[in-house]
């Protein structure tokens, strides 16, 4: 079995559904970080059978928890200090998301107005439905 060593300072995203780690890597902008990032795919898991894990050696504040919550709020976020887990962050669906998803409605003002931020509001928390603030169209972007 492959072993990836523990990190001293940073965070670990655990219980990522197998196969989703690369998508999360890009959505969270981890590709732009100048620090050590480890992506573990298809690790054995009691809960999920197979899971992905991402370990990042940098400050937790660089992580956009809102984006992560939208991607999958069941992912476990462990904050690591001095090699130990010091905090588990709970992911909560944000009430509003700015600049994360794009409205695909061709009739929406966001399709023509320059530099207008795409803003979505949480319309249905149970079904995790976000709608465009401007046109009320349901988000169809898979993250």
């Amino acid at each position: 079995m492959l072993n990836v060593g523990k990190i001293e300072e940073g965070f670990v995203l655990d219980h990522i559904p197998a196969g989703r780690s690369m998508s999360i890597y890009y959505h969270l902008g981890l590709d732009k970080l100048d620090c050590c990032v480890a992506i573990i795919k298809n690790a054995r898991s009691n809960k999920l059978e197979k899971k992905d894990i991402i370990k990042v050696e940098c400050d937790i504040n660089t992580l956009n928890l809102d984006v992560l919550a939208v991607i999958d709020h069941t992912i476990t976020v462990n904050v690591i200090k001095a090699g130990e887990i010091v905090e588990k962050k709970a992911l909560v669906l944000p009430k509003e998301l700015k600049g994360v998803m794009k409205c695909k409605n061709p009739r929406c003002i966001t399709s023509i107005e320059q530099e207008l931020p795409h803003i979505f509001y949480l319309a249905d928390a149970d079904r995790e439905i976000y709608r465009c603030k401007y046109c009320d169209e349901k988000n169809s972007e898979k993250m």
């Binding site: 409605n105 009739r107 929406c108 003002i109 966001t110 399709s111 023509i112 107005e113 320059q114 207008l116 319309a123 249905d124 439905i129 709608r131 465009c132 603030k133 401007y134 046109c135 009320d136 169209e137 349901k138």
Partner: protein, 303 residues
């Protein structure tokens, strides 16, 4: 400062006050003839409209105010590529209040965020048309004496018909309202409205035939299939005459049912229905002026 983007921007209590004011304007027009002296309304219409624009202009003129504006995107700086945000900043320097119609959904909301004057959404794409809803509600309240306890039929283009969406959103706040949505399969109500009605436990059904539903209705809201909402002319031609309300069908409807229509009407209501006392769509137009007068006064804090 307040804007009007959505019929729900006003609580039902605020709507009652607005409609009381509209009633008073109707009863005592002279009292209000100079209320807006020295004030200017900018009508910024990025897509063609005669009725709504003229209704706003007529409302402001009745109040003693002035009107400036444009009635077509090609005659505005939008044709040069100016953004809505920039346009409203400019208009804010020229006028005291703005009524905006735009083919893009959410454009008036963008304007409102940058504006230093009240902005009224005068229709944004297939999304909202709040002043039409205020008109519809005032018409219903004036002619029926109430806004609750109705079975409301909405017929025609319920997918792109923003007036229908706005009316549904407004009526769900009153007690004992149920809906019958009458439309071809391709023009059914959008999913967000369906979801909302389910969530609020508002009874509704979706049907295709108008004739079957007519006997149950207290109000019938007819809508036009709008050519400008279709990307494909073929679909428009196929669906435009799907419903035609005529004298024969009106025989199936209750004696006290009201037929409303946001106008313009094309073929969906036969001209022979116009003489039926239940056809109130031309009365609606007059109520539209009263309610816009009341709205302008309210937003300018001159009521």
């Amino acid at each position: 400062m307040r804007h009007l983007m959505n019929p729900l921007d006003f609580t039902t209590e605020e709507l009652d006050k607005l409609f009381d004011l509209a009633d008073d304007i109707q009863a005592h027009p002279d009292k209000y003839a100079h209320k807006c002296e020295g004030k200017k309304l900018a009508t910024c219409f990025y897509e063609p409209s005669t009725r709504t624009r003229l209704s706003f202009e007529s409302a402001m003129l009745n109040l003693g105010g002035h009107v400036i504006g444009f009635s077509d995107a090609n005659s505005s700086s939008a044709a040069k590529g100016e953004s809505v945000s920039d346009t409203i900043r400019i208009i804010s320097c020229y006028a005291d209040i703005c009524a905006m119609r735009h083919p893009k959904e959410g454009a008036p909301m963008v304007a409102a965020t940058k504006s230093s004057i009240p902005v009224i959404n005068a229709g944004d794409g297939g999304h909202q048309h709040p002043t039409q809803t205020l008109t519809d509600l005032l018409t219903i309240r004036s002619l029926k004496g109430r806004l609750n306890n109705f079975t409301v039929g909405l017929c025609g283009d319920l997918k792109f018909g923003r007036t229908a969406h706005s009316l549904v959103n407004a009526l769900v706040r009153y007690d004992h309202i149920s809906f019958i949505f009458i439309s071809p399969e391709e023009l059914k109500i959008p999913s967000y409205l369906r979801d909302k009605l389910k969530e609020l436990n508002i009874p509704f059904k979706e049907v295709i035939r108008l004739e079957d539903s007519l006997p149950e209705l207290d109000l019938l809201y007819m809508t036009r299939v709008q050519r400008e909402r279709f990307f494909n002319e073929e679909d428009y031609v196929r669906l435009k005459d799907f419903y035609i309300l005529n004298k024969e069908k009106m025989k199936l409807a209750p004696e006290d049912m009201l037929v409303l229509h946001p106008l313009p009407r094309v073929n969906e209501i036969s001209v022979e229905v116009d003489e039926d006392p239940r056809a109130v769509y031309f009365k609606q137009v007059q109520y539209g002026v009263y309610v816009r007068m009341a709205l302008i006064l309210t937003l300018l804090e001159l009521a």
